[in-house]
């Protein structure tokens, strides 16, 4: 068994940058979680990363994520003690101790949440997650695609409130019940999702996504330091594809059923001059059209990145005039299976399109 690898403070910075790119427009900015990690590391915390293959089959792993409206998070901030309490209360409920903690969602701020819990609970973080990117709903995970059990779920807020969803009839029900509880406590809560055994993580998790996010962040940082083109560096390092480069010409947003939906139009610059790219989003970017023809669609990762800085741009912060590059990164294979596409393909977001990958 390989020893646990300590994660440096610099790697946490890189993780935040990489995770924001893997957020594909959603997932919430990792900024506040990063501030917490800086404070924890200044106080001497060091979190270790665990190779998922080192989990014993009957180990138990806590799968954590912060849930709610990013805007509420901007006011209430985020506190490592809240996410840690979700984990310890789940342990009390189960009467078992977690071997390690992992992220539900590597895209956005939730990539950093397990590190916050791990720093307080002195447990390693498993190098894996359940999405390989960001998605808006509970049933959009590799665990759901593999039909694993979706309960129990522990939801806690900053006060002494905690809700257990002891059972749910389906993933959709789990989403509905937990979302209702989340709204009741102020539309922001820390959650410990259905616990996973070591075997389940190894068989059904998206493996090595944490180190992937760290590497992605390091790629951007290295390109910036060397005054290299960060987009080219990302595409090269992640075997991605640069789909389009241009300037945001129009953004339309609307909130429906609790989601931020909308479209953005990009007018081409440089090699793409004269062409037009359109993006549709539901929290995350879902489909992209080049001159009216579908060019890229979920679950392929659609990343909109500031052409100069290499910084990811969220669907909430898209603005007219931004110089952006649209980059596709490969999705984890499990999302591309027929079962995976039922959960996270274009039809799961209401687009009547037959999925084709830009990497096919």
């Amino acid at each position: 068994m390989a020893p646990l690898r300590p994660v440096t403070a610099e790697e946490i910075e890189s993780l935040a940058i990489g995770a924001w790119i893997l957020g594909t427009g959603g997932g919430g900015s990792p900024y506040l979680a990063l501030l917490n990690m800086r404070a924890l590391y200044r106080q001497g915390a060091v979190v270790s990363l665990m190779d998922p293959m080192d989990l014993a089959d009957d180990d138990l792993v806590a799968v954590v994520s912060n849930m709610g409206a990013p805007l509420v998070g901007q006011e209430r901030l985020t506190d490592p003690r809240t996410i840690a309490r979700a984990v310890t209360m789940m342990e009390e409920y189960l009467g078992r101790r977690f071997r390690a903690i992992m992220s539900l969602e590597i895209g956005g701020g939730n990539a950093v949440q397990p590190f916050m819990a791990a720093a307080l609970l002195d447990r390693p973080v498993v190098d894996a997650d359940g999405m390989g990117r960001a998605f808006p709903e509970a049933q959009m995970t590799s665990f759901a695609i593999h039909d694993l059990r979706m309960y129990p779920l522990m939801l806690v807020d900053v006060r002494d409130n905690a809700v257990i969803v002891a059972q749910a009839a389906s993933w959709k029900w789990m989403e509905r019940l937990s979302r209702t509880a989340c709204v009741a406590v102020g539309s922001i809560a820390a959650t410990c999702k259905a616990p996973r055994t070591g075997k389940e993580v190894k068989d059904c998790g998206i493996l090595y996504s944490t180190s992937k996010a760290i590497c992605l962040g390091q790629t951007v940082q290295a390109a910036r330091r060397a005054h290299r083109d960060p987009i080219e560096a990302i595409v090269e390092a992640e075997r991605g594809q640069l789909l389009f480069a241009g300037k945001i010409a129009d953004v339309a947003r609307r909130a429906t059923e609790g989601f931020l939906r909308g479209t953005a139009r990009i007018d081409g610059l440089g090699d793409c001059r004269g062409q037009r790219f359109e993006l549709a989003f539901q929290n995350e970017f879902a489909v992209g059209w080049l001159d009216g023809t579908p060019r890229v669609m979920t679950p392929d990762l659609i990343c909109v990145i500031d052409t100069v800085s290499g910084e990811a741009i969220g669907t909430e912060t898209l603005r007219y005039g931004q110089r952006v590059s649209v980059v596709a990164l490969p999705a984890p294979p499990v999302l591309l299976t027929p079962k995976g596409l039922e959960h996270v393909g274009p039809r799961a977001f209401g687009y009547d399109l037959e999925f084709t990958s830009v990497f096919a």
Binding site: L32, E75, D79, S187, D250
Partner: protein, 524 residues
Amino acid sequence: MRRVGLDVGGTNTDAVLLDGDAVVHAVKTPTTADVTGGITTALRELLAAVGASGPIDAVMIGTTHFTNAVVQRRDLTRVAAVRIGLPASASLPPFVDWPDDLAALVRGEVVMLEGGHEYDGRPIVPLDERGMRDAARRIRAAGITSVAIAAVFSPLNAECEARAAAILREECPDAAVTLSHELGRIGLLERENATLLNAALIGLARRTTRAFTEALSASGLAAPLYLTQNDGTVMLAATAEAFPVYSFASGPTNSMRGAAFLSGLSDAIVIDVGGTTTDIGSLRHGFPREANNVVEIGGVRTLFRMPDLLSVGLGGGSLVADDGRRVGPRSVGYRLVNESRVFGGTALTATDVAVAASLIDLGDRRRVADLPADLVKTALARMHATIEESVDRMKTDARDEPLIAVGGGCFLVPERLPGVSAVVHVRHQAVANAVGAAIAQVSGEVDQIFQNLTRDAAITEARRIAEQRAISGGADAGTLQVVEVEDLPLAYLPGNSLRVRVRVVGDIADGATARRRQPTAADR
């Protein structure tokens, strides 16, 4: 109406007298270390030139004094920070993510208390009034004179901040108090940061405002004094001295507003080319478009009423690389008149290239006659490309728009740019900022979450609140107009939540002016 507009910059103090829409006279004098000296000189020269041609109705001053204090880390007051929101937000206390040197100067007591609200206005937990009273006593014992109070979701419900301030005033009647809901938007850390900066500048703001008032009476002016704000509007000096952060960007704002006024255009892009940097902004209805994102001031992330500006490192003093491929961001700045080639120096600057290309006649043009034509062409192309891209970035509309060019380096702006209908030059462009100060109006703003209302109903309600605020700020109700409406739907909040921001402006109400004028008239 006859108004005097003053712009107190880092280098120059400019003054103009406006009679209605006409610039009667303008003067430019060096800013003095005591600030007042420059103002007194500028006013004396201005009034001497126009003679006893009638009374002055109002004096408006715009100044970069407070921004400079933060950037240069000087004249700052030590502050007690009160955060109300526990048990939320505990792990990220006030001053988190501040530059160490600035935090060391400003951080006094840090107090975190239970309280705050939810997004829908329900309390998170009740305010810890007893904790507030204990804290107030500690603040008094520590000899701290300025306090910043920020509560979670105070822009939606300000009760906690108001109650905490009342307790504080009972225990420390002399302390200055800044409340976050009076300044900022949703985003606790950024709003709190703006509140802390404001509290740190309170002492300087009071001294400066007092000095301005004295300079005015020394010049024999009895007109009411207004300070200009980031959004191109004014507040009476007595009110404004409590909100120094609202004048942070009044320099570029006044310059843009002045440019609009002098050109007669109300919707345009404005480019102000200085010695070291170029500021570009977008005017809508004669006002700069506001930034809806984080703005860093002296290394501190803030989110409050600031104009959306793009600053690029290009100006008349920008250094040009030997092959002409790079221009700026390094600059000789105000030393241009000694160090550039045409003025006898050895540095190759953007101004030298412009003289060599016959864009302007400055200094001794023979000193740049030897510049290779290729270099001049390459450097000009580089500068034009930078300007083109920057202007295009600030456009919010794909249609062609006019571009107003002002500032000492405006000869660097090409006469034709893609997406620009015309490049407009104006008279008095060198004092556009003082003109912008002179024409400032009064505003009212609202930024709030509305639920279960249609988009139109939410905007109507927001507009009503904004108008109410403008009127209580001294605006003439009959002249109010909406200058900005923005709505942003919110993810994961129930009940069709919509965040609406509306801003209205109006002329200074006669009544407000008259009320202020009476005592001074009696004094006379």
